[in-house]
Symmetry: C2
Subunit: 418 residues, 2 copies
Amino acid sequence: MRAAILAVGSELLGEDRAETNSLWLARLLADHGVELVRKVAVADQEEAIAAEIARLAASHDLVLVSGGLGPTADDVTREAVAKGLGRPLARDARLEQELRARYASLGRRMPEINRKQADLIGGGVALANPQGTAPGQRLEAGRATLFLLPGVPHELVALSERYVAPWLAERTGGEARERITVRTAGLPESEVDERLAPVYAAFPREEITVLGSAGEVRVRLTVGGEAEARRTHLGALRAAVREALGEAVYAEGEEASLEGVVGALLAARGATLAVAESCTGGLLGERLTRVPGASAFFLGGVIAYHNRLKTEWLEVAPALLAEAGAVSPAVARAMAEGVRTRCGATHGLAISGIAGPAGGTEEKPVGTVAIALASGDPAVPGGQLFLRLPGDRNRVRWHASQLALDLLRRHLLVTGEG
Amino acid sequence: MRAAILAVGSELLGEDRAETNSLWLARLLADHGVELVRKVAVADQEEAIAAEIARLAASHDLVLVSGGLGPTADDVTREAVAKGLGRPLARDARLEQELRARYASLGRRMPEINRKQADLIGGGVALANPQGTAPGQRLEAGRATLFLLPGVPHELVALSERYVAPWLAERTGGEARERITVRTAGLPESEVDERLAPVYAAFPREEITVLGSAGEVRVRLTVGGEAEARRTHLGALRAAVREALGEAVYAEGEEASLEGVVGALLAARGATLAVAESCTGGLLGERLTRVPGASAFFLGGVIAYHNRLKTEWLEVAPALLAEAGAVSPAVARAMAEGVRTRCGATHGLAISGIAGPAGGTEEKPVGTVAIALASGDPAVPGGQLFLRLPGDRNRVRWHASQLALDLLRRHLLVTGEG
């Protein structure tokens, strides 16, 4: 089955807005083994839309159209599709009734301009929109099936899940693939790749995609085939990948975050965290407090950007600062221990580094970062990192925060639940 | 002149990558008054690309093609365009020589696969690529002109500026419009709109676009017409807008940032800043330290997420916390003054709020935020804000940081340079 996506909207041809509805639709199609052949974006112009519809319907099995179903004068998708397919467009009395009822239930009167949302293309089936006033439509045109979907992202997703997904499932025998994203921290992409060598040897190479970014490597597993066999195979692949990557895996799925995982580990242990940040300037604390309910594990900390704050607030010895330098394992350790004890937390986490563009030296070039964790537990005291990170100021800072969170995560895994 | 953009690349039909080269090209076209009629994305498939080329060249005056000019087997744009136009494709000896010379200058030998980058389509003019190995090509086909450009963004921009922009300028009589983006903080979109009423009355409405986001409103001014008259008109429009918006304007252009403007104001006054953050958890400090050279004006501060840190580190009186509550103007003021004096800064800036999703009460619902600035100057002591912000946790936090920075900016404008 060959599919095309047509995105309608003059704003999509401007300089500000990348078209992103199609990313979600692309995944839905791929999940059902449908090949997406092309994506087209056109302005809110009846002629241009009609020409695209005629062409796409003639050469694809499925055409997903998004946008232009609103009530305003520039919403012309209904008219254009009718014209492109040479079909009539007529007001549907029942659809209009439903629209009026929707407004009435909200205690409002339907504006007259919304009436045109009840226009149905000849042969079209209306698709009720629970999240907005724009109903979708499904049409058959020769060998092609067309779905007209609203352009508002959450409405597009809702209608696609309700109408397009079951249609695809029926024609393709259900989802054709399943996927898991295994997320790792603390390893460079090259090491993830090396560790996966036995998995590459035992499983088809195209089932495994490695996607690297600063301080995180995602391993995406995609398995096709018949549902039962697929599940078994994916289970085996997943187990092999997790075995190969071990403690580097911090979560599965795109919803998870490293700060969320660290927060949950802290909370499960009844532990609390305080942070001391220099080059990251608050990024570590900002990430930890993205987690709803962060107060269960996060106390706060110190942004010790100026060296004076490192000595006055964190009790880092001036002699140590002078001797080892602010960006050194010893100072990072002192910062972590200082913030831990002064905040009364069980754990202290510190970052000091040279994010650039200025401030580098021959001995400590831009990107040099020292990270330390203090736990106050003599048995498992913490840990530290001292390394050079690539990239610009923003990338160095993000990468440092990622490594710091991962240092804490690995420490908490070792100590176990309290 | 009607233009189309064809983006080539299988990755553009997947779920991960939005196509963004076209945003930059769209601006280039609009700057020259050229109408962008459609954008198409196709996979790295010769047939699909050839079909699009034939169609687009037949119905547009200008076709900008990006991607598929690399050396690997899936880079088939050259072959596909030759096929789509019914032209031969031949190795160009001089182009191959240039490619080899490029490698030689880097002390490397050209891999054999790169030879095909010297293939020139019949009638094509090679466009040298100073930033990579993929040369572009320009072709005439009937009424259409085609530019083949590399897909790597900085190479695409470089070749477009070097070859497409002058071509457009020659055909359109130069840039057809000029633009300025005036950026404001501290006013809601509705108030910006109200203040602009006299400007709307005096200037064509379509020259002014208002774009709102959390804590920032951009006013984009776009003026067309003949170069000299345009410049005069844009100057008058800009003056009128700046007059109407007054002190709410913090910068012009997309490169500027509020934290950068605040940093420059602090530095110009020889002033220093310390921050005390509760609900933002470090975001304010993180934003200020995005600015390269932030150490000139930023000392650091305290992330006082837990109330105990507000009393112990910032000397907020426990009785005040108990009586007024952590999210109150009085506590925010105490935090700002506490962090200012304890860090030895000239200015202290504090945020306390309920970012949600939990923690709201009837009296202080989610989104309630208290912001305070302490200056230590009895003549211009600072200021405060106590308000309720809309949106989810992330939006509330960002908006609060924006308002805090703007509070400081307005204060510094009043005090003048030191």
